[in-house]
Amino acid sequence: MKRLFEVALGILTAIGGFVDIGDLVFNAQVGARFGLSLGVVVVVGVLGICVFAEMSGRVAACSGRATFDLVRERLGPRMGVLNLFASVAVTLMTFIAEIGGVALAIMLVTSISEVLIVPFVGLLVWAVLWRAKFTVMENALGLLGLCLVVFVVALWQLGPDWGNLASQAASFDKPAKEDWLTYGYFAVGLFGAAMTPYEVFFFSSGGVEEGWTSRDLGVMRANVLIGFPLGGLLSLAIAGSAGVVLGPLDIDVAALSQVGLPVADALGKIGVAIVIIGFVAATFGAACETGLSAGYSMAQFFGWQWGKFVRPRDAARFHVVLIVATLLALGILMTGVDPILVTELSVVFSAVALPLTYFPILVVANDRDYMGEHANKALSNALGTVYLVLVVVAAVTAIPLLVITHMGAGV
């Protein structure tokens, strides 16, 4: 019974924790402009994150060490530095976007400028990272993030033409008024949003925090293979409801407030209340995850003591990284930079950093010295190789598409 509860809880938190500010904004933008015609990219991205999260979770469970911990040891300092630079840069950018996202979500109910809310959010995020227990943080925020299931209910309540939505999803074709390069830009962005590198680092390091062993592989796989796809379903519901409500009005999503409009239309004030709780929980949870991921990456690379399973005084340098990251995020957000702009950039740069993040995971997961009998089998390697090709394509095309399409505004 306890085991079953653990599995259920893990799955629920994986669903609630899958969607972050990047997924919220990008899926709503895509839904409003392209309907569900890019739905297949979400499916491909979710499968990709499942493949690599399973690998990194397996590494954590079998070796008792997080993936990043092994990258430098296995691939040497040069590859380790590249991996560190790419992942920390993108994770910090995502951290900034998530803190900004929390402030934007709170602004929806207070109408106080997000610049004034940001310092309090930063303080709260730091306090949680410093004091809260890992499992409490993960479970509470993951479960509250489940409020975003309201998008599924809203889509159902809106009563769309399901046949039309299905044909959009199957067509893989752009609407007549859009161009192929913009379509490509959003495809790469959605892929990057689904496969954000911090998710894998957090998952792997979280496994070490929770003391996984090879006996926990079943629970870990259930979390990944059920939780993430159901999280992906939330992404599709966000895009679907935006397509039904915002698309016909030519609304191009540029603010978090617009993301919640379909829920208001379908479910009224109760729906709005639930969706705002979901926004706050999802972005706050992701802020904690990205903050920790930045600390994990640095500490694991330099061989410092890390994690929330030890007292802060025993992992002082790890906690200093968390403080510096939080101050950096606050400093940037207090300049008045648009958090949605930071979000869009973080999603695109995630796509750029993907090969540097995922290639080392594939190498370490194949190393029998660490993995023993649990090293990658043929299926994992085949999927991993296919996804490496995809992430290289996404990485190479991301910045040119960003420039040519004026960040998706059109050629």
Partner: protein, 162 residues
Amino acid sequence: MLRVQRMRLLAACAVFSTITVTGCTGRPASVASWQSSSDRAIGEALSGLGTARLAIKLETRDRAPHTYTVVTVTDAIESSSKEVSTYQVAQPPDSLHRANKVVGQALDDAVSLMVDVRVALASPGLTAASARGLVARIDALRKKLDDLDSAVTTSPGSVGTS
């Protein structure tokens, strides 16, 4: 070896010149570039007006908290204003000054109308009659912007001539 170095130097000069020339302000845009930026600005205005229309609908049907609808329209005004100001500081092609003025005026009208919606929502609150009036104005302006967008895309020279 010397030949390779010369080629590299030439390539660097070409890149530098291109960046310098294209980075200069005040140079008239090409017609295609003007069409593209007009299309983007009109799209942003249409998006803002669509958001304002939806906010009015939600407010009158009591489907969303008052603060939420006000913040939504304020966000739409901010996004549209940024795009409109970027558009208006750019130098149009010599042959399209009149067209540029017409598009700029329509964009100004759109932002003003969004501000009217925000003011009506935030301060006195919407009555059924004021909501109907605003929706009618939004629909008329959206139609005008749609037509303008088609004209900008298909025959930019004809914009502002009739």
